[in-house]
């Protein structure tokens, strides 16, 4: 190969690298840009709507005025309800898979099922929840039916989070504990879980974010189109932020006039998600610092 040709090759190598890297960088910026456009758009349009009244008042005038108080409360009810169901079972299940189940077919099967459950579209959960909780068990459209449906949906996330957190605990800790005569349960309770729990907590917070934004599963299990009062029991219907946004955006009595309300609702919804993400990240940082200090 002549020197001339070699130089030419090197040049073309450099050129194609530059083009490729430039394209990739541009595309990455585009993706990040998309997020900022979405967030920015909703924040700019919604910020003027947000006020104390907006957060604490009932909707009025065919949902074109007033606030979204019942929807916020409803969403928190659903978060609480679904967490009560999915956290304990999910964490226990994660512990079982990682600590108890003997490696092999059983674990593979459970993991496969967990992955499958995680992949099921939310609308199918909605169908299932309606069929089982609302109709078969006779809960009707109620907080409990919605919470159970949402809880079932977040279960795989909780299980996976727990499993990952436990997996990252070094085996030497467990062996050290066994070597001192501790039983399996004692080891899990006193050694494994304390080490793993920062990661578990972080994961749980992120799963709350998922619950707060889901619409499809609550469509037929709990969400009320318009219900300007607060629930009294777990068998009451409630409004919920995501469904409320859907209603305001597509099927309100006066879509044009309720637009500002929709922006405001979207902003509140995003704020909740952002807030949860921030907490999770802060906790992650805090715990990793603590670990380092130890």
């Amino acid at each position: 190969m002549t020197l001339e040709r070699r130089k030419e090759l090197e040049r073309s190598k450099k050129r194609s690298e530059k083009i490729a890297f430039g394209t990739f960088r541009a595309m990455s910026l585009l993706v990040v840009g998309i997020l900022f456009v979405i967030l920015g758009f909703i924040i700019i349009k919604g910020i003027s709507v947000i006020s104390w009244d907006f957060i604490t008042k009932m909707p009025e005038d065919g949902m074109t005025k007033g606030g979204i108080y019942p929807a916020i409360i409803g969403t928190f009810c659903l978060i609480g309800g679904s967490m009560i169901f999915s956290f304990p079972i999910g964490v226990l299940s994660g512990i079982y898979i990682n600590e108890y189940a003997s490696n092999g077919l059983v674990v593979r099967f459970i993991r496969l099922m967990t992955n499958n459950l995680a992949g099921i579209p939310s609308i199918v959960f909605g169908l299932f929840g309606m069929s089982l909780f609302v109709n078969t068990l006779g809960f009707g459209d109620s907080i409990i039916a919605g919470s159970l449906t949402l809880g079932l949906m977040t279960l795989p996330i909780v299980i996976r989070t727990t499993e990952e957190a436990l997996k990252s605990v070094d085996n030497s800790f467990r062996q050290g504990s066994y070597a001192l005569g501790a039983t399996k349960l004692q080891t899990i309770r006193r050694v494994t879980l304390p080490i793993a729990y920062p990661n578990i907590i972080t994961g749980l917070i992120l799963s709350i974010g998922r619950v707060s934004g889901e619409t499809a599963p609550i469509l037929f299990t709990v969400a009320a189109y318009f219900l300007p009062k607060l629930p009294h029991s777990i068998f009451d219907q409630v409004m919920a932020l995501p469904y409320h946004l859907y209603v305001l955006a597509t099927s309100g009595t006066n879509i044009e006039e309720s637009r500002p309300m929709a922006y405001g609702t979207a902003l509140v919804l995003i704020m909740i998600v952002l807030f949860l993400n921030l907490i999770a990240n802060a906790l992650r940082k805090y715990f990793s610092k603590k670990v380092k200090m130890n």
Binding site: L35, S93, M113, G213, F220
Partner: protein, 403 residues
């Protein structure tokens, strides 16, 4: 030093609870299968004729059975001659219950509608080309006409039917082909948009970007995954839909394209996260070896890194498609929901999940429409099951190959 008995018992109980919890997901999946199919499978024992009604014809008419499609065409005036459906050459005369008032006076009908059965009977007897859609209760034992029988809904017709009018009268049309095609169009459009973008970003983050850039971008992309789908839908509705409308000069902006764009944005975090993880598993030493042989970074990426992580990238793409197929709210809000077979990306379409979300509220429990929607749910479930099993298979092969 033996542990006291009650402690051992306690451990055993806890172990039992843990085992139970461990099986919860399997239980849930099985329950979902049972309930979806339990509610849905009744559909195939149903007649497409609305409940409580029958179709009757003149007793001399040789036609005994009609399928849902023909019934619809007849009542839509698309078929106007019995010859078309296997009868004699005779014009079809449609008769609805309401038409009775224009033929007979109130007196003739009677105050309590007590004469109606006789009137129907006479009517069908006198007009040879008649087909009447009337409530079952008005058919007496001495009815002079002939009741048309209809086939139950068949699986093949259900899957290949080109029309979705589950509430149509007299015969509901439950062909899901437009829904399946709508779902595919939107999903394929989404993946065509998001796969190149997602791959580019994952390669950039894993191989090219400075760690500081990566550490800034990663949480942002995670945030993208956290935004609720209604918010995406809302954003699509107020920004992307009008944009498409004006750019392509369309009567409405709610199109498959709008759905694809929103879904592409929503699938991005999934694709980026999984593909990036997979790309990062490429051993450093392998990359260094390539560079040490005089390959440029870009050559190393496309000759070593991508082939090495191809199975992970495939998994990312498949999971991305799975996400797109199952997504409900955002699609519901921006695609226009027209249940017709799409011919271009600039037409409104309706996807399976959006159909369920939009129509389940209107359907009566246990009715044909309700069952049809549950069958749609089952189909969705089977699709995602296939997607997940495929991904599982690919990643297990990947683990095997890398050992």
């Amino acid at each position: 030093m033996a542990k006291p008995f009650h402690k051992k018992l306690f451990e055993k109980i806890i172990e039992g609870i843990l085992t139970l919890s461990g099986s919860i997901t399997s239980l849930a999946v099985i329950l979902i299968v049972i309930f979806l199919f339990k509610e849905g499978l009744g559909l195939f024992n149903q007649s497409p004729i609305a409940k409580g009604f029958v179709l009757v014809v003149n007793k001399n008419n040789p036609v005994n059975t009609l399928d849902a499609k023909s019934i619809k065409n007849i009542f839509d005036h698309e078929i106007t001659n019995w010859k078309k459906v296997g009868g004699e050459r005779d014009t079809i005369i449609l008769f609805y219950l309401d038409d009775i008032n224009s033929i007979y006076t109130e007196e003739q009908i009677g105050q309590n509608l007590e004469n109606l059965p006789t009137l129907f009977s006479n009517l069908t007897d006198s007009i040879s080309g008649i087909i009447a859609f009337i409530p079952k209760t008005y058919i007496n034992s001495d009815f002079k006409g002939k009741v048309i029988t209809t086939d139950n809904i068949k699986v093949s017709k259900f899957l290949s039917g080109k029309e979705w009018f589950p509430t149509a009268e007299p015969a509901a049309q439950v062909g899901i082909l437009p829904l399946i095609l709508g779902t595919l169009w939107v999903s394929i459009g989404a993946i065509l948009l998001s796969l190149p973008l997602g791959l580019a970003v994952s390669i950039y983050l894993a191989e090219i970007a400075h760690p500081r850039v990566r550490n800034t971008f990663k949480p942002i992309i995670e945030l993208l995954a956290g935004i609720p789908s209604v918010v995406y839908g809302f954003f699509g509705l107020v920004v992307i839909v009008p944009l498409i409308q004006s750019v392509f000069n369309l009567p409405v902006g709610e199109t498959a394209l709008a759905g694809s764009i929103i879904l592409a944005i929503m699938a991005l975090p999934t694709i980026i996260t999984i593909a990036e993880d997979s790309i990062r598993t490429t051993p450093r030493s392998m990359k260094e070896a390539s560079l040490a042989l005089g390959a440029s970074r870009w050559q190393t990426i496309y000759k070593i890194v991508i082939p090495y992580s191809i199975s992970g990238i495939t998994a990312a793409a498949i999971l991305g498609i799975g996400r797109a197929i199952g997504e409900t709210m955002a699609v519901l809000m921006v695609t226009g929901n027209a249940a017709s077979i799409p011919h271009s990306f600039l037409e409104p379409v309706r996807t399976i999940p959006a159909t369920i979300a939009a129509e389940l509220g209107e359907s009566s429990q246990g009715g044909m429409h309700y069952q049809a929607l549950f069958i749609l749910g089952s189909i969705l479930f089977v699709i995602t099951l296939i997607v997940n099993l495929t991904v599982e298979y690919i990643s297990s092969k990947q683990k095997l190959a890398k050992r």
